[in-house]
């Protein structure tokens, strides 16, 4: 039970560690007072024989049918609520935490316990927008952790599956579910994650796993934990010895450890023919390199290292740029800025309006900029190509992270040409090389190099040729 956050919040009203008094009415009044008598607090009394029961719960969080069937019916028949989820409540802090979690607290006859009657808003497990596939299951996680666990179990009927529930101390304590397969997940990784959850103390409000991800890797531009909303991906990852972290109320599950190449492997690789999947993986790897370096390479070629280009191409670019008033570096910065603004605008406005914004930005602004001589056509082509390449990266967080990295690369290439590009790329490489995801090198299997894992990461081998268990953290299925 996440009592600490509640205890902090009510410390000024009642002593959270104080035991509940024997008088149920007095206890109920104190609890109501500590909660500030909110309009959705239902505090009813039920006389049953000699015992006066005080029942406290928040209407907004509880299910009336469950209250009727699990609490009121048994009590009115002279029986104790026989739910397996009931538990004793001893202090004010425990009682308040239970009420705030959507449970019903029953006080009376020298007893105090809570019954889980939480009304969990659910929706059907629809396919997540960011991870759509053409073939394969179209199910995604929802905001209900029980339902999500069920979805995982449907994909993974294995007695070794372990689900641990831990409390993370935040502004409002949250329950984090750590999921792994015993015997497949390395004990050290499980231990690191468990320790990470238990030792974290933050004043942030954690409402989604993305915040949790930030707590584990605060400074990295690219994600150190892979997020997914697909049960089949989580099941595959668990079978590879990885761990999953789930949060009540969040449809996103975090996978750890995560390496760079895994971010280039969408789950539908495993629903396509191996040849097709391998080809697409190669394309995505090239796209990743292009998304980071293409604009910087063009800047270097157009400003300092003109010898990089063959004469006809150089002449063509020069002719296209002759009416442009800005240096190539400024021009490419303008174009990259326009692309980012158009993309952001497209994301912020709903549905069809977003498409309109994108078309308006891409076609009208792009064409007008070229026609009016503000930006040259080659710049528009290369910037757009770089942007499209970044969209080919399946993981959205990684895609945005790598797009950010190209801006400093453009600056250093504009000043030093190819030498700057080389040093900038090396710095990015050094940054990635210094990263570990829960004990696994972020660049594995490139370094430390493992030929077997490398082949399996770059190519999607036929399933018959794959061993049952991949090396931990090196492949995704």
């Amino acid at each position: 039970m996440g009592a600490t956050g509640v205890a902090r919040a009510i410390a000024s009203f009642v002593d959270p560690s104080a035991p509940l008094p024997a008088d149920a009415t007095e206890a109920a009044a104190a609890l109501e007072s500590a909660l500030g008598s909110p309009p959705d607090l239902d505090c009813c009394q039920l006389q049953q024989g000699d015992v006066l029961w005080c029942l406290l719960h928040l209407d907004s969080l509880t299910d009336p049918q469950l209250i009727q069937s699990d609490v009121l019916s048994p009590l009115s028949q002279g029986r104790m609520p026989a739910t397996t989820r009931n538990a004793q409540v001893r202090t004010y802090g425990e009682a308040l935490a239970a009420v705030l979690e959507g449970k019903l607290v029953a006080l009376g006859g020298q007893q105090a316990f809570f019954v889980d009657v939480v009304k969990r808003p659910t929706r059907s497990p629809s396919e997540p927008d960011a991870e759509q596939v053409t073939t394969g299951p179209h199910r995604g996680f929802v905001e209900n952790v029980d339902q999500n666990l069920g979805l995982i179990r449907m994909n993974l009927r294995d007695a070794r599956l372990r689900v641990e529930r831990h409390t993370l101390r935040a502004a409002t304590d949250v329950e984090v579910f750590l999921i792994y397969i015993a015997g497949l997940a390395p004990a050290e990784t499980v231990s690191r994650l468990r320790r990470g959850i238990l030792e974290t103390r933050t004043s942030m409000a954690i409402t989604d796993t993305s915040t949790l991800s930030e707590i584990f890797a605060p400074l990295q531009v690219v994600p150190l934990l892979q997020s997914t909303e697909r049960p089949d991906r989580v099941a595959g990852a668990l079978y590879e010895g990885r761990c999953a972290m789930m949060l009540e109320g969040s449809p996103t599950v975090l996978l750890a450890p995560t390496v760079l190449l895994q971010l280039l492997q969408p789950v539908d690789d495993y629903y396509n023919r191996p040849q097709i999947a391998s080809f697409r993986r190669t394309v995505r790897t090239i796209a990743l390199i292009l998304s980071v370096t293409l604009s910087a390479l063009y800047t270097a070629a157009a400003t300092i290292n003109c010898e990089l280009l063959p004469a006809p191409l150089f002449i063509s670019i020069s002719q296209a740029r002759q009416n442009v008033p800005f240096p190539a570096a400024v021009e490419i910065f303008l174009m990259e800025g326009i692309i980012e603004i158009v993309q952001e605008a497209g994301l912020r406005v709903p549905g069809s309006l977003g498409q309109t914004a994108s078309i308006l930005g891409a076609v009208v602004v792009g064409q007008s900029a070229v026609a009016s001589g503000i930006i040259s056509a080659p710049t528009v082509v290369l910037s757009s190509l770089g942007f499209l390449a970044s969209l080919a990266i399946p993981d959205l967080n990684a895609s945005i992270g790598f797009r950010i990295l190209r801006f400093p690369l453009i600056v250093i290439s504009a000043v030093f040409g190819l030498a700057g590009l080389a040093l900038g790329s090396m710095l990015i490489g050094l940054h990635l090389a210094s990263m570990d995801s829960f004990g696994v090198s972020y660049l594995s299997p490139l370094t430390p190099f493992s030929w077997r894992a490398f082949v399996k990461s770059v190519l999607r081998l036929p399933l018959l040729r794959r061993s049952r268990r991949a090396e931990p953290g090196l492949d995704t299925g």
Partner: protein, 360 residues
């Protein structure tokens, strides 16, 4: 703190320590010293370096810092480590010079951008030192295949334009000439200083170190040989960076890339930046062992600042770098750089009781 590296990472570190120099600058010296048979100059140094590596890595289980303190006691051991750190620092100065030389000779820069570029190189070295040898080793392992591939593509693409009459050696007499010994000095110095890396189980390094050395020596010989075959002995002698000259003069890639050297040079630049990091990490590690109470960030900053300042004293003229190499490195830095690790490794170990009593 000691870290655990894989054999592949040790090979990459070794190769990346020696390869930028051995593919860029040494072939020119080898061809100047020995003409068309310059590529053979690498044979003797490789054998000598392999023998020294064998001697150094077949015995110890400890790093050079631990060996020095254990065999010589805290005071003499620390003094030796400080001396060794000074020698590696002198070498670091020359590597900064090499970095500047490469930038100046392959890109057309004004003084200010060139100084800025060298400043960035020094900054990267500091960053590498701060991140530690593991991050450098991983970066080296990423970089090495790219550097190898680019160099081999240049050589492979240029060979069809070569004159195979120069392909075979005419004799070995030059290998004993005084000038040809310049190469072994550089090679040996770069070989022995690797013993300063703070890595666990140095005993397991022998074969990775030898592999890395052989790889670098092979690329050096191949570069010198192909330069003579493609450019001819006279043109190769006058080339400062033969492989660059080969790529620039002979290969016209056409299509999207006009000249191939533009792909080779970034690789070499990044390789030299890694080399800077490796050297500065070694100095910082030695200093940390000699002065254990000093904060590591202060030491790494000191190493890079002193190295950069000294390099700027000889910078930006390539003549300055050559002068540093000839007048500072060879007479003052190289002898201790080679002798001190050997002395520390081969000095008889004291009796266990005494060692236990005096060990810090």
């Amino acid at each position: 703190m000691k870290v655990r590296l894989t054999p592949g990472q040790v090979t990459s570190l070794m190769a990346m320590t020696t390869m930028p120099t051995m593919t860029m600058l040494l072939p020119a010296d080898m061809i100047q010293a020995s003409g068309r048979d310059g590529w053979l100059d690498v044979v003797l140094p490789l054998l000598a370096a392999a023998a020294i590596a064998w001697g150094m890595y077949r015995r110890p289980h400890r790093t050079i810092e631990e060996e020095a303190l254990l065999r010589f006691g805290p005071w003499v051991g620390r003094a030796l480590l400080l001396l060794l750190a000074a020698a590696v620092e002198a070498y670091l100065v020359v590597v900064v010079g090499e970095f500047a030389q490469l930038a100046e000779r392959t890109y057309v820069f004004g003084d200010v951008p060139l100084l800025l570029l060298v400043g960035i190189g020094i900054g990267i070295a500091w960053l590498e030192t701060s991140l530690g040898i593991l991050s450098i080793a991983r970066t080296a392992q990423l970089e090495l295949p790219l550097l190898l591939a680019t160099t081999l593509i240049v050589i492979g693409a240029a060979l069809p334009f070569g004159d195979m009459r120069y392909a075979l050696p005419v004799g070995f007499e030059h290998m004993l000439s005084a000038k040809a010994f310049f190469v072994p000095f550089v090679f040996l110095a770069e070989t022995v200083f690797v013993s300063t890396w703070p890595i666990e189980s140095p005993r397991a390094w022998l074969w990775p170190v030898l592999t890395g050395l052989s790889l670098a020596a092979g690329m050096c010989a191949l570069t010198a040989w192909s330069s003579v075959v493609v450019l001819g002995a006279d043109r190769a002698t006058s080339a400062v960076i033969p492989v660059y000259q080969v790529a620039r003069d002979v290969i016209y890639a056409g299509g999207f890339v006009a000249h191939f050297e533009v792909l080779l040079i970034p690789m070499l630049t990044a390789g030299t930046a890694i080399k800077l990091g490796i050297f500065s990490t070694s100095v910082a590690s030695l200093l940390q062992a000699a002065v254990p109470r000093a904060p590591s960030w202060v030491l790494s900053g000191l190493v890079v600042l002193v190295g950069g300042s000294l390099a700027l004293h000889y910078f930006p003229t390539p003549v300055g770098v050559d002068a540093a190499l000839l007048h500072v490195l060879v007479p003052y830095a190289m002898p201790p750089l080679i002798a001190l690790p050997l002395l520390i490794r081969f000095w008889p170990q004291r009796r266990p009781q005494e060692a236990t009593r005096r060990a810090p």
